[in-house]
C-alpha cells in the first residue's frame, strides 16, 4: 500500500467551537558554517553526492569528532537572540537508533543539557497584535545523510527498488529550536504558527547564521498539535507532523490537523500518538510511524567530546554584538521613513527593506525609493516570474556592464 486513505475532517469553525488547540513547534536550522559540526568537511549545498565526506562524518571505525567552535558560537547567538539563558556548562549526548543514512547509528545531539533554554520570541500578527512564544530550548546537533528511494511511485521507501544515500549532509550543524506548548491561541493557532516560523526565519537571517531556505531544507519545521475540550486544562494526545517546509504549509498543516483531530474526538475516537507526513500537493497529512513509549534512544553523554563551558565574557561579547532585532528594525525604519502601516507591510512582505534602506542611504527620498522598488521594478520582476530582491541582486553580482535587466541594480532611482 503506497497511499494512505484520506482521513475524515470537520469544518474548521466546528472544530474550534468544541476544542482548544495546543501547538508546539520544533524548528531545525542548518547553520551556514563553512565546515561541518564535528569535522573539516565543506558544507556546500548541491555538491556531487558523497564528495564532502571524511572518516569522521562517514563514521568510519576509529574516527573521532571535534566540535566546530563557530557552530557553538552560532548556537549561543541564536539562544541570546531568543532571550534564552545560556548554559555555563553543557554536554553533547548520543541519541542511539539505527538508520542507513546515519553513519554512526547514533546522532550526536544534546539531551538534558541544552546550550540555550527558557527564552521567548515575540511574534507580530497581521493585525498588529503581538503573541509571545515561549522557547523551551535550543540545542546543537548534527544532520543525517540523505536517502533517496528509487523505483517507487511516491519517492518513499515503500515500493522502492533501492535507495541511494548521500552523506554530504551528514554532520552539518543543526540547531533545534523547541517551543513550549502554546495554549490559548484558539482559532489563530495556524496564523501564529506561520508568524512564528516567519519571525524566526527573519531573526536567523539577521543573525547571519543560516541560509534559512525552507525549500532547500536548511530550515525545517515539525508541527506538534493536540486538542483539548474547550476550557479543559489537560492536554490531549498529540501528533507530530514532520518536515513542513514552507510558511504556507505550516499554516495549512496546523489547520488540517486541528480539523482531523476534531473529527476523531467528535466521533468518540482517540488520537494516535504518531508522526505524520505532510503532503504539499493535497494539503493533508498521512500517518507515518507510530511513536509510542517504546521508542528509547538510550541517551548518554558523548564520551568522545569534552563538555562545553562558554566563558561568561565571551557570551557577553556575543550578546553585545547581536544585530538589531528585525521587529525593532522595522519599527525604527517605519518611523524614519514615515510609511503608513499598510505601505510598510507591503514593503516587508515583498522583501524590499534592505533595498529601500540602501537606496535611501544613497540619497533617495523614502517615498521615492518605495515607489521605485515596489512600482516599476516590481512589475518588471513580476513579469519575469521573480521576486524583486532576486531580480535586483542578479546584476549586482555581474561585474560586466550590460543592458536590459543589468541596469536595474545600478541605476539610481528617480527622486
Amino acid at each position: 500500500m503506497t497511499q494512505a486513505t484520506t482521513e475524515a475532517t470537520v469544518p474548521y469553525e466546528e472544530a474550534l467551537a468544541a476544542y482548544d488547540p495546543v501547538l508546539g513547534l520544533e524548528v531545525h536550522v542548518e547553520l551556514n558554517t563553512a565546515t561541518k559540526m564535528f569535522c573539516g568537511c565543506a558544507t556546500t549545498f548541491g555538491a556531487q553526492p558523497n564528495s564532502q565526506v571524511c572518516p569522521v562524518c562517514l563514521g568510519l571505525p576509529g574516527a573521532l569528532p571535534v566540535v566546530n567552535e563557530k557552530g557553538v558560537e552560532s548556537a549561543i547567538r541564536i539562544g541570546l537572540a531568543l532571550n534564552c539563558e545560556i548554559a555555563p556548562w553543557c554536554r553533547f549526548a548520543r541519541k542511539n537508533y539505527f538508520y542507513p543514512d546515519m553513519p554512526k547509528n547514533f546522532q550526536t545531539s544534546q539531551y538534558d543539557e541544552p546550550i540555550a533554554f527558557d527564552g521567548h520570541l515575540d511574534v507580530e500578527l497581521d493585525d498588529g497584535t503581538t503573541y509571545r512564544v515561549l522557547i523551551e530550548r535550543a540545542h546543537m546537533e548534527e544532520d543525517t545523510g540523505k536517502s533517496t528511494h528509487v523505483g517507487g511511485a511516491t519517492g518513499r521507501i515503500h515500493g522502492a527498488t533501492h535507495s541511494l544515500v548521500d552523506y554530504n549532509r551528514a554532520g552539518i550543524p543543526l540547531i533545534e529550536i523547541v517551543t513550549k506548548p502554546m495554549v490559548g491561541a484558539g482559532e489563530r493557532a495556524p496564523e501564529i504558527a506561520r508568524a512564528y516560523v516567519a519571525t524566526l526565519r527573519d531573526l536567523l537571517a539577521a543573525l547571519g547564521v543560516s541560509d534559512v531556505r525552507m525549500e532547500q531544507g536548511s530550515m525545517r519545521c515539525d508541527v506538534n498539535l493536540s486538542l483539548m475540550p474547550t476550557g479543559a486544562d489537560r492536554f490531549g494526545t498529540r501528533s507530530e507532523t514532520k518536515n513542513v517546509n514552507s510558511l504556507r504549509s505550516v499554516e495549512r498543516a496546523v489547520r488540517f490537523e486541528i480539523q482531523r483531530h476534531a473529527a476523531i474526538l467528535a466521533s468518540g475516537g482517540s488520537v494516535t500518538q504518531e508522526t505524520r507526513h505532510w503532503h504539499e500537493d493535497t494539503g493533508i497529512t498521512t500517518s507515518g510511524r507510530e511513536k509510542s513509549d517504546a521508542e528509547d534512544y538510550r541517551y548518554f553523554p558523548e564520551p568522545d567530546l569534552v563538555p562545553i563551558a562558554p566563558a561568561a565574557d565571551w557570551v557577553e561579547r556575543l550578546r553585545e554584538s547581536l544585530p538589531e532585532p528585525p521587529a525593532a528594525r522595522r519599527r525604527r525604519l517605519q518611523g524614519e521613513w514615515g510609511y503608513a502601516d499598510l505601505e510598510m507591510r507591503d514593503v516587508v512582505n515583498a522583501g524590499l527593506l534592505d533595498l529601500i534602506e540602501e537606496t535611501v542611504a544613497a540619497g533617495a527620498s523614502p517615498a521615492g525609493a518605495r515607489k521605485w522598488w515596489s512600482g516599476e521594478i516590481a512589475r518588471r520582476a513580476n513579469a519575469d516570474g521573480r521576486d524583486v530582491p532576486a531580480y535586483a541582486a542578479a546584476p549586482r553580482r555581474d561585474p560586466r556592464p550590460c543592458g536590459g535587466v543589468g541596469v536595474v541594480g545600478h541605476q539610481r532611482p528617480t527622486q
Partner: protein, 508 residues
C-alpha cells in the same frame, strides 16, 4: 647474528642503527624470518606486511646513508595491534564483521610511528574488539603464550604480548580499556604501559569504551617502553579528549631509575586473598627490592575498589553498545543477506550481518549495554556506575596524598590454560580486578616483570600506578625494579623462556 638482532632491545638496535653498524633492512628481515619460523605455533599476527616493512626499512636506511638526522627509533621495527587503523593494511579488531576492511586512513599513533621511521611488521591478534583477557575471543583463533603454548598470552593484547615474548618484534602497540596492555605483559614476562587517559591520541583507534580506552607502548624492557611512549604520546587536535600538555619525561625517568625517597603505596584491597601464592610472593619480593633501592613503603586503602569491576561492566558495555552500532553492513566490512529472503530490508541485512559478524562475547556486552542504557534503567545502572567511578577517583586522590605511586600484582594469577575460563565470563572478568580501577580513574599504570611463580614457573607482573600526568614515575619505579631483578637473575627474565624453534619443530 640473526638471533642477536631479534633478542636485542630496541634501545640497542637504535644505537647500532644510528652508528650504521647494522641496517634497518637486516633488523626487519631478521624479525620477519623469526615470524616465519615461530608464528605458526604462537599466532601473534593476523596480518604480516613483509613488503611494506622492508620498504620502510629501506627508506630509513637510504635517508640515514644520506646523512639525515633521524628520530631515535628510526629503523626499529614494530608490531601494531589490529585495533589501530592502518591505511592500506587490513584492520579487523579480531572480528569477522571487519574482515577484508582496508582503512583509508592512518590512526594518529600509526602516523606517528611512520613519521618516526618505525617499519610496521604487521597487525597483532586480539580479543574481538578488545573484549577479553585471553585472545580466545578473537574470531581468527587465539594467540599462545610463548612460555607455554597451551596457555593464554593475556588479552585483549595477547598478540602484542606474545609477539614480544617470542622475539618476533622488539616493540608493539597496545590499547588498554581495563588491563589489555598490562595483564598480557604480566603473563608473558614483558613490559606494558597504559598512559594517563588522553596522553596518547585515540584517533583511529577503533573504540571499545571511549571513556576508558587508552593506547600505550609494549616492549621487553622499561627503557624500550619509554622510548616508544615518547613516539606515541602528545597532543592531537583530532582527539577532543587528548591532553594539550608536554609529554611526561618518561625516557629520562627510565634512564635515571631513581626511587630514592619515593613513597610506594601498597593497596590493601589489591593484595592477599584471591591472589595466587607465587604471585603474592614475587610481589612481596619486588617491594623489598624497591625498599632496598631507597623507597619507603606505606599502606593505603581504596575501599571503593571493590565496586570497580561492577561499575566497569556497566560503563564499558554501555559505551560499547553505542560504539559498535556503526557496524551495520551499509558502508564497509561484512555484509550478510538473510537466508530465504529475496528482497530484504536494510534492517534485515543489518540484523543478519551483526548475527554472523559478531562473536558471543561481543553480543553479550552489546545486550548488557543496551539494557543498562534503557529508559527506566539508566539511573540504576549507568548512572550509579558513574557515581562509583567518581568514588574510585576520590580513593586514588586520597591514596596519592600519602604515596607517590601505588603498587599491586598486575593479575591475580599467572597465565591460565586455553579454554579454562572460556565458558565462565565472570572468572575471565575477575582477571582484570587489579587493572580496572586505573581505567575508571584515568590514571597511568604499568606492568613490569617481577619473576616466575615458583609453583608453575610462569611470569608474574608487578603493577605500578601513578597520578594523572605523572607517567614518568611509572618508569622510574619500573626501571629501578628491573635493574635490581636482572642483577639478581643475571639475565632478563625472557632469557629463561623455552626455545620456541625447538617447540615448533617438535610440534610439526
Amino acid at each position: 647474528m640473526t638471533t642477536e638482532l631479534i633478542t636485542a632491545t630496541a634501545a640497542e638496535l637504535a644505537a647500532r642503527l644510528a652508528a650504521r653498524e647494522i641496517s634497518s633492512v637486516e633488523v626487519t628481515q631478521a624479525h620477519l624470518d623469526r615470524t616465519a619460523a615461530v608464528d605458526g605455533a604462537v599466532h601473534s599476527y593476523l596480518h604480516v606486511d613483509a613488503e611494506g616493512a622492508l620498504a620502510s626499512a629501506r627508506a630509513v636506511d637510504r635517508r640515514r646513508a644520506a646523512g639525515e638526522s633521524m628520530p631515535t627509533l628510526a629503523g626499529v621495527p614494530i608490531a601494531v595491534k589490529d585495533v589501530m587503523t592502518t591505511a592500506g593494511l587490513p584492520t579487523t579488531c579480531g572480528s569477522r564483521i571487519l574482515q577484508g576492511w582496508i582503512p583509508p586512513y592512518d590512526s594518529t599513533v600509526v602516523a606517528r610511528l611512520k613519521a618516526a621511521g618505525l617499519p610496521i611488521l604487521g597487525k597483532t591478534n586480539m580479543d574481538e574488539f578488545a573484549m577479553g583477557s585471553s585472545t580466545e575471543h578473537s574470531a581468527y583463533g587465539p594467540s599462545r603464550n610463548p612460555w607455554d603454548l597451551d596457555r593464554i598470552p593475556g588479552g585483549s593484547g595477547g598478540g602484542s604480548s606474545s609477539v614480544l615474548a617470542s622475539f618476533q618484534a622488539p616493540l608493539a602497540t597496545g590499547t588498554d580499556t581495563g588491563g589489555s596492555i598490562r595483564q598480557p605483559a604480566a603473563v608473558t614476562g614483558t613490559v606494558g604501559t597504559k598512559p594517563t587517559y588522553g596522553g596518547v591520541s585515540r584517533y583511529g583507534l577503533v573504540a571499545l569504551a571511549s571513556s576508558l580506552d587508552q593506547a600505550g607502548p609494549c616492549a621487553r624492557t622499561v627503557l624500550d617502553t619509554a622510548l616508544l611512549h615518547e613516539v606515541m604520546a602528545g597532543h592531537d587536535p583530532m582527539d577532543s579528549t587528548s591532553i594539550d600538555a608536554p609529554v611526561p619525561a618518561v625516557v629520562e625517568a627510565a634512564r635515571r631509575a631513581d626511587v630514592a625517597g619515593m613513597r610506594i603505596g601498597i593497596v590493601r584491597e589489591l593484595t592477599g586473598e584471591g591472589f595466587q601464592a607465587g604471585v603474592q610472593q614475587r610481589f612481596d619480593e619486588a617491594v623489598r627490592h624497591l625498599v632496598d633501592a631507597g623507597a619507603q613503603v606505606v599502606e593505603v586503602s581504596c575501599p571503593s575498589f571493590v565496586y570497580a569491576l561492577a561499575a566497569y561492566y556497566l560503563i564499558l558495555p554501555s559505551e560499547a553498545s553505542s560504539n559498535l552500532a556503526k557496524f551495520d553492513a551499509m558502508r564497509y566490512g561484512l555484509r550478510v543477506l538473510p537466508a530465504g529472503d529475496d528482497d530484504p530490508s536494510a534492517e534485515q541485512v543489518m540484523a543478519a550481518t551483526r548475527e554472523a559478524g559478531f562473536g558471543d562475547e561481543v553480543k553479550r556486552r552489546i545486550i548488557l549495554g543496551t539494557y543498562a542504557l534503557s529508559s527506566g534503567y539508566y539511573d540504576a545502572y549507568y548512572g550509579s556506575a558513574q557515581k562509583v567511578r567518581r568514588l574510585i577517583s576520590d580513593d586514588f586522590a586520597a591514596a596519592f596524598a600519602s604515596a607517590d605511586v601505588l603498587v599491586s600484582p598486575t593479575a591475580p594469577t599467572t597465565a591460565f590454560k586455553l579454554g579454562d575460563k572460556l565458558d565462565d565470563p565472570m572468572a575471565m572478568y575477575l582477571n582484570d580486578i587489579a587493572t580496572i580501577p586505573a581505567n575508571l580513574a584515568g590514571v597511568p599504570g604499568m606492568s613490569v616483570p617481577s619473576g616466575l611463580a615458583p609453583e608453575d614457573g610462569l611470569p608474574v607482573g608487578l603493577q605500578i600506578l601513578a597520578p594523572a600526568m605523572q607517567d614518568q614515575r611509572l618508569y622510574a619505579v619500573g626501571a629501578a625494579l628491573e635493574a635490581r631483578l636482572q642483577a639478581a637473575w643475571g639475565a632478563p627474565l625472557l632469557a629463561s623462556a623455552p626455545d620456541l624453534t625447538a617447540a615448533t619443530a617438535k610440534g610439526a
